[in-house]
């Protein structure tokens, strides 16, 4: 089963290795991994898609938290999310054979971003299945695909939800730890007991 995690990590050298190495150690295959800046300086955001058993989500999340540079991990599979992937697809096409590709691009709400005498480049954004759909249709219509570059999935939860960690960092004057007092289940409202 595919699991998707959003991880907020400190933007420091070697953090990507630590994350990737953890998946290797757990013997879990990473399907895609995207990293980039987040809304806050010094914090990077990763979306990690991994193939693992249905029950592995807890273990992977908990293991990610063992890495000192990890600020927050969200196993987003269980929530309503917007998922996007961007792909660049280079297709062999001459002025004579282009036109049907233009039509396909239109249908898929993609864009042509480069046009050369013997090729063109398509930019497409969407969920992965949409990208795969375009590639398949291109192949079925006999077009020669020269190159494909895909970013891997990016995910954001729908609605007002944001990271508690980022929230804590944003609210000036409130010590991070106070807001972040962990996992108090909603029903109980119990103070948590964290050893320091």
């Amino acid at each position: 089963m595919l699991h998707t995690f959003v991880a907020l990590v400190e933007d420091k050298p070697g953090v990507l290795t630590r994350v990737a190495s953890l998946f290797r150690r757990l013997n879990v295959n990473i399907v895609s991994l995207t990293v980039g800046r987040s809304e806050r300086e010094g914090v990077s955001r990763m979306t990690i898609v991994a193939e693992a058993s249905p029950t592995a989500g807890h273990r992977i999340t908990a293991s990610l938290y063992k890495l000192e540079n990890i600020l927050e991990v969200d196993d987003v599979g269980q929530y309503a999310c917007v998922t996007r992937e961007l792909a660049l697809i280079k297709v062999a096409a001459t002025p004579q054979t282009r036109s049907h590709i233009f039509e396909l691009v239109e249908v898929f709400r993609a864009r042509i971003v480069d046009l050369a005498p013997e090729s063109l480049m398509i930019e497409i954004t969407g969920v992965s299945s949409k990208i795969e759909g375009l590639i398949q249709v291109l192949m079925e219509s006999g077009d020669e695909i020269l190159e494909v570059a895909r970013t891997g999935r990016m995910v954001m939860r729908r609605g007002r939800h944001t990271s508690r960690v980022m929230e804590a960092m944003r609210i000036a004057g409130v010590p991070e730890a106070e807001i972040l007092e962990p996992n108090v289940t909603a029903e109980s409202g119990e103070e948590s007991q964290l050893p320091q």
Binding site: P13, G14, T17, R18, S21, R25, T55, H58, R59, T61, A62, S63, Y65, K66, L67, E68, L71, E72, R164, P175, E176, A177, L180, E181, P182, N183, V184, T185, E187, S188, E190, S192, Q193, L194, P195, Q196
Partner: protein, 577 residues
């Protein structure tokens, strides 16, 4: 706190020591070399004792033994390249058993990083999976913050080893030093840790309603300092307590509710009690495979409550009914008021009967018929030391016999490598334990195989004139390997017989006193001389060569499917059927 005035300009090397002193470090185990020489040069200005080891592996095990015996963070130091790679085994050992140590390594100058410079090795890359965290520091001003954070990380949450790799140019440059300003942020909160009032009361309810409960006492009790709380829980609810290897000492072995060690080499009544239990209360233990046997048949009728600080351990091996994730002591403090006092328990009586049936091996009554068994040695050692010594064991049969026959009543009196099972651990770890606890009696119990892996540290003991005693359980074999070969490989003793030097002569060559013992009657006198001798003493116990550790659960079998002790009149008492 640091005696250095605030905001002084120091070299990176001085900052290393000033920060260590500020963190309360009084002892460092290490070995110098080119890339760490500036730090060694600055050492004399600071009130820290440096113990020169004979191998960097030894330095890491010493820091480890120091930490396990005292609860403080152990510190080891080495140069770049081979010095750093020699630390790998010690780091992995500490990682597996969650021991807080900080290892400091020198590194080539930042300008030549990544160029295969002389003695350059990517030690932060190498140790990534065997440290809780590590740092590469390339600027003098980053040293104090990195080191301070390293100490915090090492001892917070689930403890573990941290490595700080410092380039030579960072050691040589200068920077403002301000110990207070370098303080790390409070340890980051862990969103997965926590427990609701509901889950606490669920656990309490399970405990109140259980008819056949067993507490599984682990290393986490010692790390959390929850000795009293676990004892209160056991006494109040009349719950018998089984210990993991690393949990020995976390509950007094002489207590009437103490069952002893569970798992692969646990006594039959312990494992049978677990298999027949209707509730397991796991306290700071991680259901290692040596503890559970095959998972499919593990305690099939028991509900499970797991109190554990590391969320990654929850439901990892054994599915649990209630998980309380956090510091054990704090959780028990909340839980205990919900546990009523229970007067007597038929279950405890039942287990005591099981115990009786399996018959305690009352080795004290064994006839002295010329055969010396490791069991004799350890039992006598236990008697002679009143069970009060810190025992540091190596890995193998002797380690299991120690766990069975030396009754630990206090935490931090057994130092042993459990998770990694690192042969060669005992001698250096005992040096660390003795340096940490100079007023305690410290004994090494090692096999003839394992002692030879790090025997070079005898010289360290001599140089430091450490008053510790060494018992070698000499069976002429890599005994644990031989036992497996006997049971599972048709007695094909491939490369398990091992030749050893005359250990007493070896000790003598180091100026260390010693004695050889071959008969049971000689055990106590030799132990007595060792205890009376100021300074180190080594005893070479020649024991039965082909003795085995019983009971034993073969790998892949259930806890109750153990190989029992054969009818051997030499090691069985009359009532041991």
């Amino acid at each position: 706190m640091s005696s250095t005035p605030q905001n002084t300009r120091l070299t990176g090397s001085e900052i290393v020591w000033a920060t260590l002193v500020g963190e309360g470090v009084t002892d460092v185990f290490g070995y110098p070399g080119g890339a760490i020489l500036p730090v060694y040069d600055a050492m004399r200005k600071f009130p820290v004792r440096h113990i020169l080891t004979r191998h960097e592996q030894g330095a890491t095990h010493m820091a480890d033994g120091y930490a396990r015996a005292s609860g403080k963070v152990g510190v080891a130091m080495a140069t770049s390249g081979p010095g750093a790679t020699n630390m790998v085994t010690g780091l992995a050992t500490a990682m597996m058993d969650s021991v807080p140590i900080v290892c400091i390594t020198g590194q080539v100058s930042s300008k030549v990083l990544g160029t295969d410079a002389f003695q350059e090795v990517d030690i932060t890359g190498i140790t990534l999976p065997i440290t809780k965290h590590n740092y590469l520091v390339t600027r003098a001003e980053d040293i104090a913050p990195a080191l301070r954070e390293a100490f915090l990380v090492a001892k917070s949450g689930r403890p573990g080893p941290v490595l700080v790799d410092i380039t030579k140019d960072a050691q040589q440059a200068t920077a403002e030093f301000n110990f207070e300003a370098a303080a790390p942020k409070p340890y980051r909160p862990h969103p997965m840790r926590g427990h609701s009032a509901d889950s606490i009361s669920d656990a309490a309810k399970l405990i109140r309603e259980a008819k056949r409960p067993v507490i599984l006492a682990g290393h986490g009790i010692i790390q959390s300092g929850a000795f009293e709380q676990v004892r209160t829980l056991a006494e109040r609810a009349q719950i018998p307590v089984a210990s993991t290897l690393l949990g020995l000492g976390a509950f007094p072995a002489s207590h009437e509710l103490s069952l002893g060690m569970m798992g692969m080499h646990g006594e039959a009544w312990v494992n049978n009690a677990i298999q027949n239990a209707d509730l397991l209360v796991a306290c700071g233990m991680r259901f290692d495979d040596r503890v559970t046997g095959t998972l499919a048949t593990y305690a099939p009728n028991a509900k499970k409550v797991h109190i554990e600080i590391d969320p990654a351990e929850i439901n990892k091996n054994v599915k649990v009914d209630v998980a309380l994730v956090g510091d054990l002591r704090q959780i028990l403090e909340i839980l205990l008021p919900q546990i009523p006092t229970c007067k007597s328990s038929p279950w405890v009586r039942e287990i005591n009967e099981m115990k009786g049936e399996c018959a305690v091996r009352d080795i004290r009554n064994l006839p002295d018929n010329g055969h010396l068994y490791a069991a004799h040695v350890i039992n006598d050692l236990w008697n002679a030391t009143g069970g009060k010594a810190i025992i540091v064991t190596d890995v193998g049969q002797h380690q299991m016999w120690e766990a069975q026959y030396y009754k630990h009543d206090e935490p931090r009196t057994l130092v042993t490598s459990g998770g990694l099972g690192t042969m060669g651990f005992a001698l250096p770890a005992a040096i660390g334990a003795k340096v940490a606890c100079p007023d305690k009696e410290v004994w090494v119990i090692a096999g003839d195989g394992g002692i030879q892996m790090t025997a070079c540290e005898l010289s360290t003991i001599a140089q430091e004139n450490l008053d510790l005693n060494i018992a070698i359980i000499n069976n002429g074999f890599l005994g644990m390997v031989r036992q497996w070969q006997e049971f599972f490989y048709e007695k094909n003793y491939a490369s398990s017989p091992i030749l050893s030097p005359d250990f007493v002569k070896l000790a003598d060559a180091h100026g260390i006193a010693g004695a050889t013992v071959t008969k049971r009657s000689e055990v106590l006198p030799a132990v007595k001389s060792a205890r009376e001798k100021k300074g180190p003493f080594l005893i070479n116990f020649h024991v039965e060569k082909e003795d085995s550790v019983y009971p034993m659960i073969p790998q892949g079998k259930a806890l109750h499917e153990m190989i029992r002790r054969p009818d051997n009149p030499l090691i069985e008492t009359a009532e041991d059927a």
